[in-house]
């Protein structure tokens, strides 16, 4: 099991907009560079891209909640 970590402190979103579906659902393939979430930092939205590949397991951080830099956002299985 590998983890996707937040590159910045801010507010985490697992969806590109409130009405949209989450970027990933359990069982989805994850490739390097895939967007898995957004971090809102100082009114700027920054895409979180995966640096690993595998199969998406689950989001760990809650949608719309504060996260710290380095905090675990999601799990990916090998």
């Amino acid at each position: 099991m590998a983890h996707i970590l937040s590159p910045l402190p801010g507010t985490f979103y697992m969806k590109p907009s409130p009405e949209a579906e989450p970027y990933k659902t359990p069982g989805d393939p994850v490739r390097v560079g895939d967007t898995v979430g957004l971090i809102e930092v100082m009114k700027t939205f920054i895409e979180v891209k995966s640096e690993i590949e595998g199969t998406f397991t689950a989001y760990v951080a809650e949608d719309g909640h504060p996260v710290t830099a380095g905090q675990q956002l999601a799990d990916v299985a090998d």
Binding site: L8, P9, G10, T11, E40, V41, M42, K43, T44, I46, G64, P66
Partner: protein, 456 residues
């Protein structure tokens, strides 16, 4: 009616600024804060404080019910909204008024009227404030567009009457171009909004952003002269000056007096700013909108007039008359403010909400640093990136630029990336020194690669 307990419904540097102004008037200050701001400087400086909800602004600083409840719970006699957040929300002002509490700003009705572009334009025209010349209302066909353009002069901007978001906007430099472009704008407007109605107005070439500071007590208003804020990035002001060196004295007097006329025509109470576009080529200025609040760049006006605008707005909203008459407001020298943001100017201005490890603040005559940081403070990532403003006052513009360059060299904020290198480069730039810039200058200057680590 005086104010003895004031709730500050904002955060950051403006909260600190309001607390200092209120305390010097002998007012008890109560700081509202979110869970993300528990250790901010304003909470430490205020006499009392109250938590109004989670870090997310929509659950705290932007939540009208929570802020009104906090004001009632703390027995505040007045609420100062600062800038941003709810400062120009008529719904908030109305809720405060209905709770029997003083809103430090104009009435809800005035905020509503000046916040509506069409109503504000009508109020301005009625008070003799020049607006961008254009069609009286919507026009339906190309011949009407040509008739209006012949009247207001080229270039003209053709906009969709139903518009928004930049759709259906064209700029025509001649009748021939307008004959081609107006039908395109009309078709685009019809496709985007289901309405082919057009609006035509003069296009202002290389506009400079000039604004006039006024304060009214509901009966009388005075102006505190003008500011120039033409150095902007993504429509955000970056470097602001008082006064505007590009204006001659006659134009300045006309501009400032028409601003007072508008403020008095709407019985304005509190601090407000009228924003204008100025076309240097024709020496014409055009009203664009009014901000019904204190602004980020108010300190440059305070530096050249010696008047504390935040104290003044608290006094007049507490029911007192203006403390000054127009002939008592004098201009002295030139002032410049730069906005310090927690952003990396060498990485597309990426936000950098780090921890302030060290802090060295320049001191001396004519230097002011409005901020809310201290050593060991972790900048929260939930709000905007403004961490402070450095303001200098000089004998004239060249002196003020030299003082800004020196003050920037004396300012060190360790542990963060900030926009200090951008300001150092601007303070050393010959075009900035010459004053020959407009609102589209800075972005082009950045795009051309003028900001490099070695020249800042």
């Amino acid at each position: 009616m005086g104010i003895d307990r004031l709730l500050i419904a904002n955060r950051g540097e403006i909260a600190v600024r309001i607390i200092r102004a209120a305390q010097s008037l002998g007012i008890t200050t109560i700081q509202a804060y979110s869970e993300g701001d528990a250790d901010m400087m304003a909470v430490k400086l205020a006499d009392e404080s109250i938590c109004i909800g989670p870090a997310k602004a929509s659950d705290s600083y932007l939540n009208i019910d929570k802020v009104v409840s906090a004001a009632i719970e703390t027995s505040a006699g007045a609420v100062h909204p600062g800038y941003g957040f709810l400062s120009e929300s008529p719904g908030f002002a109305r809720a405060i008024e209905q709770a029997g509490i003083v809103f430090v700003g104009p009435s809800a009705d005035t905020i509503e009227r000046m916040g509506d572009k069409v109503a504000a334009r009508q109020a301005a025209e009625a008070a003799g404030v020049p607006v961008v010349p254009g069609s009286k209302g919507r026009i339906e066909n190309v011949d009407d567009a040509i008739a209006v353009a012949a009247d207001v002069g080229y270039p003209v901007m053709v906009k969709a009457a139903a518009g928004g978001g930049g759709r259906g906007i064209r700029i025509a430099n001649s009748e021939e171009e307008l004959r081609t472009l107006a039908p395109q704008a009309q078709a685009e407007a019809a496709a985007a909004f289901g309405d082919g109605g057009l609006y035509v107005e003069r296009a202002v070439r290389s506009p400079r952003h000039i604004e006039v500071q006024i304060v009214g007590d509901g009966k009388r208003a005075v102006h505190f002269y003008e500011r120039e804020c033409s150095l902007q990035r993504r429509r955000q002001k970056v470097w602001e000056e008082a006064g505007a060196a590009c204006l001659d004295e006659d134009t300045r007097q006309h501009l400032c007096q028409s601003a007072v006329a508008l403020a008095e025509a709407v019985n304005y109470r509190g601090a407000g700013t009228l924003e204008y576009l100025y076309e240097e080529e024709t020496r014409e200025f055009f009203f664009i909108e009014m901000n019904t609040r204190i602004q980020v760049e108010h300190p440059v006006t305070e530096m050249i007039t010696g008047i504390d605008l935040v104290q003044e707005m608290i006094r007049v909203c507490g029911g007192q008359d203006l403390s000054v008459t127009q002939d008592e407001v004098k201009r002295n020298g030139h002032a410049i403010e730069v906005r310090l943001n927690a952003e990396d100017p060498f990485m597309q201005f990426l936000p950098f909400p780090g921890k302030v490890e060290t802090l060295k603040i320049p001191e001396g005559d004519g230097i002011r640093f409005d901020h809310f940081i201290y050593e060991g403070y972790q900048i929260p990532p939930f709000y905007d990136s403004l961490i402070g403003k450095l303001i200098v006052h000089g004998a004239d513009r060249a002196d003020a630029i030299a003082r800004m360059a020196a003050a920037l060299n004396g300012l060190e904020i360790g542990g963060l990336k900030t926009t200090i290198p951008l300001h150092k480069a601007l303070a050393a730039d010959p075009t900035v020194a010459s004053g020959d810039f407009h609102t589209q200058w800075l972005e082009a200057w950045l795009d051309a690669g003028n900001l490099k680590p070695e020249n800042s």
